[in-house]
Assembly symmetry: C2
Homo-oligomer: 398 residues x 2
C-alpha cells in the first residue's frame, strides 16, 4: 500500500515550509518578524465579532450549500458599490478563497487539461492543480518590468487543445502588481477568440496605491459566460481564520455544476458567514485608513530595500506584498539561514523564498516575497535586519 | 468553452436535490417534516457557543494547517476515553468530515484507481469520487439482512490491481447498521493480505442502541499503517454548521502528505475549532441522554413503519437513520409526489430517495432513507403521514 502520485507530487507551501525551522528559532529565544505569510495585523471589524456573538440559535445547523442567502445578497450589494451588477445567483459562498480556486479548477478542467497562469503566482494554485491533476502552463514575468504581463502573443503561443482557461490575480499575490485595464482587456479578447474561461483572483481588490484602480474581469462586456471570479473576506476584512470566500460567475451551467461540488461538502462554516454579513455591510470608506496604512508600509519597505542598489524592485501598486530579486545565490538557502544563523539584538526575519511561486524550474531562486503586514516600526526593524542579513550572508561565501 | 467531464458527471445530492420542490411546497402553506437530511434537533452544547463568545483576539488570523493544537489534543484525550491511544500528530483537523473524506481519497488514490465500498453508502462519497476521478466499486448489501456485509469473499473478488482501499461507515449512514467486530476484523485481515488501506467513517460512533458497541478500526492491532479514520463533530455535538472534522491515521507518510493538501487550503475555520475544543472536553456521559433520545425515536419509527407488513425493515442498531424498502415502484417519484401532491392537515414529509445511495444502477429504487432527527411527537405524525402516503400513492397507479 502506497500513497498516490498526486500526494507525492504536491509541493510543500513555500510560505509555510519553514515553519518547523521557525519553531526552533523561537525556542532559542529569538524574536521573528514574520514577513513570510500574508496575515494582516489589521483588526477584524467589531461588527464581524458582534454578529457572531449575537447568534442565538440553539442548534448550529447545516446552512445552504451555496451559502447563506443574506450573505450572498450582502456581497451582491457590495459589488454594486463598484458599479458591478450581480444578483445572488451569481455568487456561491465557499470555504475560503481556496475552495473557490478548487471549484474553479474542477468545474472547467479534467485531469491533464491546462490552465495558463502568469508566474510567479500564488503558490496554492500549484497545490490545487496537483490535487485536481491539472497542468499549470506558466507565462514568466520579470522583476525588471514590475511583473507586468508580457505581450499578449506570449499567451497565444501557449494555447493548445488542452487549454481551458487563463487565470490572473490582480492586485497580485506574490508580486503586488496591479494589472492595467489594457492588459485585462487584451486577455478578454484572447479568451473570446479561443473560447476559453478567464479566471481572476480579486481578493486584494481594495488594496491599491498611488491612485491606481483595480479593474475587474466582471467589467468586461460580452464575456459574462466566460469569466469566473475568486473572492474572499480573508484580507478584505482581515479575517483569514474565518475561511469565507466566494466564487462568482454569470455562467449558469458553471454555477449549477459548482453547486453540485458544493453539495458534496454540504456547506461553508455558518457562524463565520454570519460575521461576514456584518463586515460586508461596512461602507467602502472603511477601507480608506487601511489602504493608507498599507501604502505607508509599502513606502517604508521599498525605501529601505532600494537603498541597496543591487536589489531589483519596482514599487508595486497593490496588495500587501513585495516580490524582489536579491543579490544572493539562493533564496531558499538564505531564508533558512536567516532563521538558523542570523540575528540582530536577538531578532530575525522570516520571508518566503521565491522559487515556490514559480512553476518553471530554476525560476525565482534569487527572489523572495515579503508581506508587509506589520506596523511601521516593526517593519523598519525587519527591513533593516533583512538588509544586514544580505550583507552578512554574502560575506560568508556559504 | 465547456465545463469539465467531472462537472457533468457528478450527481446531485439525493438528500438535497428535492430542495427546490420543497420550497414550492412551503409556498403553498404546507408544513414539511424534514426526514431527508441528517440535521439533528439536539441543542449544540452551551460550552461550544461559550468558548466562541469568549474569544477576544483582535485579529481572526490563520490557524495552523493541521488545526489548533489544543483541539488536536482534546480529540486525542477524547479517544483515550475509548482506550484508543492517539497523539496529536495522528490527527489533522479538517473542514468537516467531508474534507476528511476528500483528503483520504486524494492521498491514497490517483485518477482511475478503485475504492471498494459497501452500498448503499453516504452519497457524498460519490461526489468526492467524481471530483477526484476515482472509481467506487460497490459491494451490494440488502435490506433483508439489515445491510450487513456479505461474505468476505465478495470483497476479495472485487480486488484488482487498481484497488487502493476498502472503505466502511459504521454506524452507517444511510442504513443505521452497526458492523459487527467480526466483520471489521475480517476486513482487517483482507487489507493486510492485499496491502490495502482501510478507511472508516466513524462519525456516528456514540449513537448505538440496544447495548450494541461501536468497534473502531483503530482497535485493529498491527494495522496502524493501513487504517485511516474520518471523523467529525457535526453529529457528535450537533454542530453540523461548524464544519469541523478530523482525519486520523498513524501512518506518517499519509499524514505528512495530507498536511500538504491541508496547507493548500491554509486552515480550517478558527472560531468553530475553538468551540469544538469546549465540546470535546465534555464527559462521555453527555451522550447518554442523547443516545436514549435517539433510541426512543428509532423505536417509534420502526413500530409505525413495520405496522405495514410489506415494508422491509430490520431494526438498525446505530446512527439516526433508517433505510427501508417500501412497497412502491420508485422512491424518487414517490418522494417528489409526497411533496407536490400529498398532505394530511396541511402537512407532508420529505425523505431521501434510495437510488442515490447506491452506485450500482437500478439498485435502491424502492428504498428511502429516513433521518429520525425530530422529536417523538413530530416523528409519530411524520411516520403516519408516510404510511398513508404509501397507501394513497399505490391506489393512484401513477
Amino acid at each position: 500500500m502506497d500513497i498516490s502520485k498526486r500526494a507525492k507530487q504536491i509541493q510543500e507551501s513555500p510560505i509555510r515550509k519553514l515553519a518547523a525551522v521557525a519553531i526552533e528559532t523561537k525556542k532559542k529565544g529569538i524574536h521573528i518578524y514574520y514577513l513570510n505569510i500574508g496575515q494582516p495585523d489589521i483588526h477584524t471589524p467589531e461588527i464581524f465579532y458582534k454578529k457572531i456573538k449575537d447568534f442565538s440559535e440553539n442548534v448550529l445547523s447545516y446552512g445552504p450549500s451555496d451559502g447563506l442567502d443574506e450573505l450572498r445578497q450582502a456581497i451582491a450589494d457590495y459589488f454594486s458599490k463598484y458599479n458591478i451588477t450581480l444578483n445572488k445567483n451569481d455568487i456561491i459562498i465557499t470555504t475560503g478563497g481556496s475552495e473557490a480556486v478548487s471549484f474553479a479548477f474542477t468545474v472547467i478542467a479534467d485531469p491533464g487539461d491546462e490552465i495558463i497562469i502568469p508566474e510567479p503566482f500564488y503558490t496554492n494554485y500549484n497545490g490545487y492543480s496537483s490535487i485536481s491533476n491539472l497542468k499549470i502552463v506558466p507565462i514568466t514575468t520579470d522583476p525588471e518590468t514590475g511583473y507586468h504581463l508580457p505581450d499578449i502573443s506570449e499567451f497565444e503561443k501557449k494555447i493548445t487543445k488542452k487549454t481551458k482557461a487563463i487565470m490572473i490575480c490582480s492586485p497580485n499575490n506574490p508580486t503586488g502588481t496591479v494589472l492595467y485595464e489594457k492588459e485585462i482587456r487584451e486577455l478578454g479578447e484572447l479568451v473570446k477568440k479561443y473560447n476559453l474561461f478567464l479566471i481572476a483572483d480579486e481578493v486584494y481588490k481594495e488594496f491599491t496605491y498611488d491612485g491606481e484602480k483595480h479593474f475587474s474581469i466582471l467589467q468586461l462586456k460580452g464575456l459574462e459566460d466566460q469569466t469566473i471570479v475568486v473572492d474572499s473576506i480573508s484580507k478584505r476584512y482581515s479575517a483569514c481564520g474565518a475561511r469565507i470566500g466566494a466564487i462568482i460567475s454569470k455562467n449558469r451551467v458553471v454555477m449549477k455544476s459548482i453547486l453540485k461540488f458544493a453539495q458534496a461538502r454540504l456547506c461553508p462554516p455558518t457562524l463565520e458567514q454570519i460575521g461576514a454579513i456584518g463586515a460586508y455591510k461596512l461602507p467602502l470608506s472603511y477601507f480608506k485608513t487601511i489602504t493608507a496604512e498599507y501604502q505607508k508600509r509599502r513606502d517604508i519597505l521599498v525605501e529601505i530595500l532600494t537603498s541597496n542598489k543591487e536589489i531589483i524592485l519596482k514599487k508595486p501598486k497593490g496588495a500587501f506584498y513585495i516580490m524582489t530579486k536579491l543579490p544572493i545565490d539562493n533564496s531558499d538557502k538564505f531564508a533558512k539561514w536567516m532563521l538558523e544563523n542570523f540575528e540582530i539584538d536577538n531578532e530575525t526575519v522570516m520571508v518566503a523564498p521565491g522559487a515556490g511561486f514559480y512553476s518553471t524550474p530554476g525560476k525565482g531562486t534569487q527572489e523572495i516575497r515579503i508581506a508587509y503586514v506589520l506596523e511601521s516600526n516593526k517593519l523598519k526593524k525587519a527591513g533593516n535586519i533583512l538588509l544586514k542579513a544580505i550583507e552578512k550572508y554574502n560575506s560568508l561565501n556559504l
